[in-house]
Symmetry: C2
Subunit: 237 residues, 2 copies
DNA sequence: TAGTTTTATGTGTGATCACGCATCACAGAT
DNA sequence: ATCTGTGATGCGTGATCACACATAAAACTA
């Protein structure tokens, strides 16, 4: 009888890693927040070992930082480094887009169009979570089309490091949907360029999308996290 | 009294990490070679724990790979992925060079000139190790000048993944010095462009340097490491 | 002899513990 | 009132062990 579905054979520290990574991506942690091994282990119901390895990996991926104290914390927000990351993202993601332009298929175009429509609908519904998800899907659908797995992983790492801040900002800025309406227009131009086989223009519009978003929300993020300690500490979760 | 220099307060797994990383960079391991925790621990005179964490980190940095067996091995050579890495390096390192061009100082120019002279001397002396070191120094001096620490670390990661193969190829190709004589000429053009403030041309020449080297040695690497089944397609770019 | 099962060895994973360092509060000294 | 030594507490680090799984050699069956 073959009625049995395959069991999950991932290791415990991999599952812990996934959980933590997801939480970081969602901006569930406050930048600078310290994660102790024992605490995380207790709240996840495991022993220390898997947590230790998961934290080590996340530090290696720069999603967490190890301080001089040797304690591990969520990467604190720093406007200079954020700006640098954005410039890197603009360059690398537009490169990925240019490569993707060489591998455009009708299926890709229709998939992108569909995702962008979903994003427009989310704007209309003021559904921030659906908005962020469809935006991410739009970008990564393009990057996957480039068929460069190593480049893809580099980009994932960059999103892991910029995503939390942007998500937190989107959530806390009233009327952030309006900005994403412009985003869908830029996306439309990307689709158009891809369909026309214009790699340069597609890449340039992706860079525009990233740069415009960062410029719109960067100051807000800085304001949120550069803590004058008397002000209410923003709860991100 | 300030006569005391700071003591080394690094952890054991950091030192293990450094040693392994250095060995990998130098191409001391055969691609595909399995590293067992106990063996490494024994040969380094430590217990398993520090080795475990060091290996975990190197896997996260893609210098090592974890196979389905759960055993950890040196990343095997794969011409397709190598070609992809080279394309990524060309794009990212030329970007770093363009940023560096905006921060050129006379001191930088003279330092680069000096390093390139040292490289020419190494070519003349047929000193392969000095050659490789000065070549690496030349590149990273430029990238450091860009003053983008996160970009710098991404590039370091890329060198960690392409360096071992290239170093091994250089060592085994008789007369590899001749190629690097051309390299010093390209470097000279980079210096010239940087001095003239021509970011575009400086970046283009760095990309040329990378691409030319990879195309020259890529097939040799494939021949060295590929199983006999693969009559390799030597196109890299 | 070929194919299959069994056994043995080695390895990664996760749990647990001892140790040393960092941090903070408090008491005593200046 | 400020500074400094002391003790308590919490945490990361590294060592050690039990267990499960993988691999391959050995033994067995047909």
């Amino acid at each position: 009888m073959d009625k049995l579905s395959p069991v999950d054979l991932s290791t415990l520290h991999e599952r812990v890693y996934s959980r933590l990574r997801e939480a970081i991506s969602q901006g569930d942690f406050v930048p600078g927040e310290v994660l102790t091994i024992r605490t995380v282990a207790a709240s996840l119901g495991t022993s220390s070992m898997p947590v230790r390895e998961a934290l080590r990996r996340l530090v290696a991926e720069k999603a967490l930082v190890q301080q001089a104290n040797r304690s591990i914390a969520v990467a604190p927000f720093n406007l200079v480094m954020f700006g640098e990351l954005i410039r890197i993202r603009m360059a690398i993601e537009s490169m990925a887009t240019r490569y993707a332009a060489q591998k455009v298929t009708p299926a890709l175009i229709s998939r992108l169009t569909e995702v962008n429509e979903r994003m427009k609908a989310a704007v209309h519904d003021k559904d921030v979570e659906a908005l962020l998800d469809s935006n991410k899907t739009f970008h990564f659908t393009i990057y996957a089309a480039a068929e460069m797995p190593q480049l893809f992983e580099i980009i994932q790492g960059l999103w892991l490091r910029t995503g939390p801040y942007l998500r937190a900002a989107y959530r806390s800025v009233p009327g952030a949907e309006r900005h994403f309406l412009d985003g869908t227009r830029v996306h439309a131009r990307v689709i158009q360029a891809l369909e026309a086989g214009n790699a340069q223009r597609a890449g340039a519009n992706i860079a525009l999308d990233i740069g415009f978003t960062a410029r719109r929300f960067g100051p807000k993020i800085a304001q949120m996290y550069s803590a004058p300690e008397d002000a209410a500490q923003p709860t991100v979760a």
